[in-house]
């Protein structure tokens, strides 16, 4: 089926009308999901939508899971059965889910400053609502935002993006359709420090192409970073406004404190 669809046409447009390096629309929502989380975020990259809630740092349910010198990070991920094109139920023990969870955990463990919270636990619940390619990328970005929203100290924001190659031209932020056909790699960067948090590849990619994609993904990471920062700042500004409102006119000079 997909062979009939042109991944990149002669005019340089992709199947959904984007250019080679164009990202899909990013929508960020910080409204609380589920039951009173400490922080939550929903991000959509086009039609892929992931919602994350963060609880903690808090006392661990099971003492045996805690560490004496740092916080334990517990990530649980569930995929809604109606999220993909074809209905499929994935249980908790599903290999794909376990793998995604493990990848997320190893991405965020070095970034979160866990040593500030010894013997505590940080619970991160990821709910995949819609999938249209770039699942890991959306999970990572949503988790970053939820952690920020929860006020958990991190070394940097982790911004992930998927890249792929069609013959010799690199594409960014692949949809499901492109992901099925192209060799692709997901790269998570920390733009401020310029470090790489994750490189994940499930397909074979020619080594000559890797460098180009790697560089492009790093650049796209900074774009996503600025988008995230804008959303966080907007949210914080709203909070500050709300606080000012609560104070009333009693403290007009408080504005400068923030």
């Amino acid at each position: 089926m997909s062979s009939r669809i042109e991944i990149l046409n002669a005019g340089g447009y992709r199947s959904d009308g984007r250019r080679q390096y164009e990202l899909r629309t990013i929508a960020i929502d910080f409204s609380p999901q589920g039951s009173n989380p400490d922080g939550s975020a929903t991000i959509s990259h086009g039609l892929t939508q992931v919602s994350v809630s963060v609880y903690g740092p808090r006392e661990a349910k099971m003492r045996s899971q805690t560490f004496h010198d740092r916080a334990n990070i517990n990530i649980e991920l569930s995929i809604a059965p109606f999220s993909a094109g074809e209905r499929r139920r994935r249980g908790k023990g599903d290999k794909r889910i376990l793998e995604l969870t493990q990848t997320l955990k190893s991405t965020f463990e070095p970034v979160i400053q866990t040593s500030l919270y010894p013997r505590a636990q940080i619970d991160i619940y990821v709910q995949v609502l819609q999938q249209d390619g770039g699942l890991l990328q959306a999970c990572i970005n949503a988790t970053t935002l939820a952690l920020v929203n929860a006020g958990i100290p991190m070394l940097d924001l982790v911004c992930a993006v998927t890249g792929g190659v069609h013959s010799t031209s690199a594409l960014l932020d692949l949809t499901q359709l492109e992901e099925n056909d192209l060799p692709n790699v997901t790269i998570a960067v920390m733009p401020r420090s310029g470090k790489i948090a994750l490189v994940s590849m499930e397909t074979r990619l020619h080594v000559d192409r890797f460098e180009e994609i790697f560089r492009l993904a790093g650049e796209a990471g900074t774009v996503i970073h600025s988008e995230m920062k804008r959303a966080v700042k907007e949210k914080t500004a709203k909070l500050v406004d709300a606080m000012q409102l609560g104070k009333g006119s009693a403290a007009p000079n408080a504005e400068n404190d923030y």
Binding site: P32, Y55, P81, F82, L129
Partner: protein, 349 residues
Amino acid sequence: MALTSTSVSKAEKSYIQAGILANPPSRSDGRSLHDFRAIALETGVAPLANGSARLNIGRNPHDGTGGTEVLAAVKLEVENVEEGTGGVDGGRIICNVSCDVKDSSPSAYPNLSSGALDDLQHDYTDVINQTLSHPSLHPSNLGILPRKKSWLLSLDIVILADAGNVYDALFMAARAALWDTKVPRTRSIEYKAKKSVTTAKNASGGAGDMDVDEDTSSGFDTRKIAGAIDFELPDYWDEGEVLEGRDRWPVCVSMNMVLPTHFLDASPQEEASTSIRVLLMFSFLSPNQTTLQGMRMSGPGEIKLSGLKELIEEGEKYAKEIYSALTSKLKDEDIRRNQKARDRFVNRI
């Protein structure tokens, strides 16, 4: 049936019960006995599903937190109607309820092990499935080709947060998602061979000199099945037609009993301090024709037989209110979304 696992102390329990029995009754959030918390509903939340809805009961209006939150989505799949494939002529409906993994937050399902969570999901699934896949509610437009292909409608409901009264929320969300469901239009295709000379001769002439295999049963013999053998999806401007009889989908009322009275829309604490709960599922075919589609009792208490009739009558009254409010909201949503679609169409030109 597992009750939710909020634990209340004896004193708390008796305080809540005394409040409900007091005259005038008083509840912790100031509602009267038969008041619902605010309900928020949105349809069409999952673009990859054929119908979907998100419902919240009791969200805090100031910060948007809390409340029971449920996400329901309907997905249609084509199924072969054959022995052993599970497909049924005229389509079938399968419902499934899953609880989200947010199991360790204070108001959802604290202290529940994954085994207990599975049990709970199973309980919810059982009630929803038995009620909604009942033949009396089955929509007539789930068939594609008679005795060949049909739609399998799977309704998946995810409980994102539990702040009491999950059953009512589940049924309302299910009704909304099913209401929102659009069945893609199909057109059957027929391959017709030219009428052979043999058959013409047969019709006019005497009995079968050529048609020897008429009565033999061959696995490849498809002549018994008349008409269409496959179908296609015609290109059309909308997503399809709505489910037939979408007005019939039932609503549920949970009556929480503190004898001799009852109350609606219980919070988790209130749920934990009532000994018995009666679920009543009503379907409204027309304004004056109500059917009781299902009934469940849970909890260790008991009610007198004579009281039950009265209870059902009361329940019908509440259900009717829920039904009419929900239906008008769903119609509003239809207008909102169709308007949006039209506007988008206009903007494009």
